[in-house]
Symmetry: C2
Subunit: 216 residues, 2 copies
DNA sequence: TTCGAACCGTACCGTACGGTACGGCAAGAC
DNA sequence: GTCTTGCCGTACCGTACGGTACGGTTCGAA
């Protein structure tokens, strides 16, 4: 029996994962030109097998996106010693993770695929990407924010609003510009600025929500 | 000679605009299922005419996006009496315009189309959308911000950074969620919150960049 | 009235691609 | 050995759609 890796209630054999990797590679390099024939050739498998394993093209696409999206894992932040410095480092880490993921080529491809998919009354891919991208960050960040508030280090009424402001401060217009293929945003260009952007966003977030901020 | 309307160096006859309207309508209702046959049928014209006027499918798509995107016109803000209140109203107005545009069904469709297009090494649509969306706002907002700084009402080093922070504070995660087809964001739901979001974003922007803000 | 331009409607072609069928082969069961 | 299972490779089918061709109609100009 082959070793399987559990991914979101779905298991894939190594052979199947090789197929998914091939599909993802094709997706990344070739844009959305993902044809069943191309995947079969790249993965050295037959189309019949593809249909047997994944049902149809949409199933293969969904499996690929889901499998890849679930691989994005945020480091868990230590909640025990929550002093000001630790909180700030945690927030910074979240900003760094969020930016790093969003800027990555794979993420851009997945988001583009999901957006394209959503343009056809199919929101399944969008849900998956949303769930494993922004919402995953949110689920992990919110408790930190609330712990910060409990410790009188942060001030806000709604942790939801605080999270969304955080998202805006970090992401700004970078994601939409990447999705739209803005040529003035090269990969290396953006990556080089991540640290500075992370620091700026964190500073701004604390300026708005830090306990000493002068907003009510 | 028919009346023509000048749009970004391109002129379209009323008949051509009717065709573009049909194409846009199809785009909005039918997702990206924009076929030449469907446009021809909807606009009651022949495919031959479509190809004669727009060259190929991509030309029609480009013309449609460009024509519609150029219709987004931001109200010009009065720069003469720049006191604190006027500045705040201007910023609020920009936030309102930006949010209103981004939330609109047409904008979502256009952005999705451009993203899909960008997934195929074609960045022309992306450039158009970018140029007429965020960048148009930026071109108009930056002078206001700099005037505000000259009047000692705002503080910032880089107006570019200030603009991008503004964008983030206003848009947050709304656009990407709409593009991904997040069902928990209904049109009416978002529109109902625009005013509150505008106010919150403006407050936060002034908290960060207002002259009395305690950031360096 | 005749001519030509523009355009509609429709039929048509070629191709790309999703999906299916089938022959062959390797590996394990027995 | 033989049988079964699972898979590869390839050939094949049907259809949707981009793009072209062409006959017919309207309309303005001379």
């Amino acid at each position: 029996m082959p070793v399987t890796i559990k991914v979101n209630e779905e298991t894939f054999t190594p052979r199947q994962q090789a197929v998914l990797t091939a599909a993802l590679d094709l997706l990344v390099e070739n844009g959305d030109g993902l044809t069943m024939t191309a995947v079969a050739r790249r993965a050295s498998c037959s189309k019949e097998t593809l249909y047997k394993w994944f049902g149809d093209r949409d199933g293969l696409l969904t499996a690929t996106v889901q499998w890849q999206a679930a691989k994005v894992r945020m480091p868990v932040v230590d909640r025990s010693h929550l002093n000001a410095k630790a909180l700030r480092l945690s927030i910074e880490q979240f900003a760094r993770d969020l930016l790093t993921v969003i800027v990555g080529e794979v993420s851009v491809t997945l988001n583009r695929t999901a957006v394209t998919h959503a343009a056809q009354e199919k929101d399944s891919l969008g849900t998956i990407v949303l769930e494993n991208g922004p919402l995953a960050i949110r689920r992990r960040l919110k408790p930190i924010l609330e712990a910060g508030r409990d410790a009188r280090l942060l001030r806000f009424d709604s942790s939801e609003d605080a999270y969304r402001t955080f998202f805006g401060l970090v992401v700004r217009d970078v994601q939409i510009r990447l999705l739209l293929g803005d040529k003035s945003l090269t990969q290396s260009n953006v990556e080089a600025n991540i640290e500075a952007d992370v620091k700026a966003a964190t500073d701004q977030f604390f300026a708005l929500y830090g306990a000493k901020a002068n907003n009510p």
